[in-house]
Amino acid sequence: MSSVMKTATPRTADPLLIDGVEYQSRLLVGTGKYKDLEETRRAVEASGAEIVTVAIRRTNIGQNADEPSLLDVLPPDRYTYLPNTAGCYTAEDAVRTCRLARELLDGHKLVKLEVLGDEKTLFPDIVQTLSAAETLIADGFRVMVYTNDDPIIAKRFEEMGCVAVMPLAAPIGSGLGIRNPYNILTIVENAEVPILVDAGVGCASDAAIAMELGCDGVLMNTAIAGAKDPVLMASAMKKAIEAGRESWLAGRIPKKRFASASSPLDGIFF
């Protein structure tokens, strides 16, 4: 799969590596909450994302056969589809969803696992998520797991075999940005698998901050789809991810309490 150039994005020297596959973009996007499929297409394109998450739902029987579907506007041969377990509150439902997704996508094994605990906060139910992850990994799935920002749990998911760990910045759709940067930093420092912030990003600087904490990528949906101008926000997010990554790689100056002048004292004429 890595030998197929999926998009027109030029190959970077700093690719995102997930489960042995290289991606040029470190921005992953969800496909929900858009006005219509055309807006979805334009925003996803502007974002430069190569991986898009999709939900698995009942077919609309009796729907007009000519009505376009997501697969028409985001062709599966151009994008990597990452099925999620959105709406699942139990491990059983999440496992069932992933198995159906695998069948739907011709044996595709990479999935995003999310098991929610509460309707109001949409925080993950860690106990159910651990159970689902164990079952899915044993069944051959490559699991990218949505979790909270608890560094112990994050490491637990990594140790059980998840291919990526995705701590939330803040509740899904809240736009609050990274609530606990120190925990995210700890997770990143302890990890040997990619860490992607998933959920709660609200604006471009939030995404840049995630990358400056050393995250490997960011997954977002509402931040783009819910913006007044989603296509413009998608473009902003693309740049923010790139800027944040470069900023992190470049090695920032330390924070100091007092000033340190930039110009020499030598040659002062006053």
Binding site: G30, R57, T59, I61, G62, A65, E103, L104, L105
Partner: protein, 68 residues
């Protein structure tokens, strides 16, 4: 015979195959997956899988979606 399809009871001919059901529902050229009584029926076996009265069938597809 009665089949429950995506939560709704429907009358279908006895001995209909999964493939024929998909055809009947007008879903033949859509990318989908099917469960019968909570067990996945692989697409490759649609022709040979014969549905039985009272079978609970779920037919799903990928859609744009996030948390909900």
């Amino acid at each position: 015979m009665e089949l429950i399809i995506n939560g709704k009871p429907q009358q279908l001919p006895d001995g209909i195959s999964a493939a024929a059901l998909i055809e009947h529902l007008g879903l033949a050229d859509q990318r989908l997956a099917m469960e019968v009584n909570q067990e996945i029926v692989p697409r490759s076996t649609f022709e040979s899988h014969i549905l039985k009265p009272g079978d609970q069938i779920e037919i799903v597809r990928a859609i744009g979606g996030g948390a909900r």
